[in-house]
Symmetry: C2
Subunit: 166 residues, 2 copies
């Protein structure tokens, strides 16, 4: 079964015709991450930010027999120490009933292929500490950077920092 | 003293004429982070990746009386849940003898101003767990995302993932 799935698998770049599909997959991911309340993306915001004048990220769609079963979204970050861009994987997601057939790893591999094509010497992503995908990330040689903490500033706190001119 | 420093402080966007200065500041940051052995950036790589056909990041220079005393480097990341770009601060660094005078916070504030101008609803960064700057990050309302782990794949492991076509 696993082999059959991989055989039929096609990974393609998303286009502006896919915004409705992409939004649906993002919402499914949010359910998986128990963060559905945090999704405020709309077809319009995705169309503008992914396919507008300045695309901020790129999307790959995984299809089996023409049916979309998952996606990956990545963009380029930057390492000052390397003086080079890196590839940052924001999301890799596969619909629940298609998991376990190598689709997520195929999406990840495609990101790695793109990283090498774009001369990026590293690929990074974040993962929830309880996500079982960590086992595979460790298996492929991914290193978790335990000394680093991710910080986020948003809402009123961001407004306050931006407005204060002291 | 603090007020005088802030009064003289100027923050400007870096240009391609600053690559030598930027590399010097990056190397000073690496000393502070105890990671000097990891710096492989060169003036050429910075010129290409920051000021070439596709700039991957933006640099702000902090000057006091025309002397460069620190820098910030940021780029735009992307939140699928928001369907919007965010501003990611890769580095904020101030030379040791100029610390404590509000220069780092002024660089951070300028990043927040840019985030709001670019309609980013959030700003993110990572910090080493022992970095005393965390106190200020907490003070301004930054939240550390403790459930998330940062993973990195590089070198042979990245090559292997990119090459395997199984």
């Amino acid at each position: 079964m696993k082999e059959k799935k991989e055989h039929d698998l096609k990974i393609r770049k998303a286009t502006s015709h896919d915004v409705s599909l992409i939004l649906r997959l993002i919402k499914e991911l949010a359910v998986f991450e128990k963060m559905s309340d945090q999704v405020t993306a709309t077809e319009e915001s995705l169309r503008e930010s992914l396919f507008g004048a300045t695309p901020f990220a790129h999307v790959l769609i995984a299809e089996i027999g023409g049916i979309a079963v998952g996606y990956a979204l990545y963009f380029f970050n930057f390492s000052t120490f390397l003086g080079q861009p890196g590839l940052y994987v924001e999301d890799v997601f596969v619909l629940e009933k298609y998991r376990g057939g190598g689709i997520g790893s195929a999406l990840f591999k495609e990101c790695a292929v793109i990283a090498k094509k774009k001369k990026c010497n590293r690929m990074e992503w974040i993962v929830l500490d309880w996500n079982p995908a960590r086992k595979w990330y460790d298996h492929i040689g991914g290193k978790s950077l335990d000394e680093w903490l991710l910080y986020r500033l948003k809402g009123d706190a961001l407004d306050k920092l931006a407005d204060i001119e002291e």
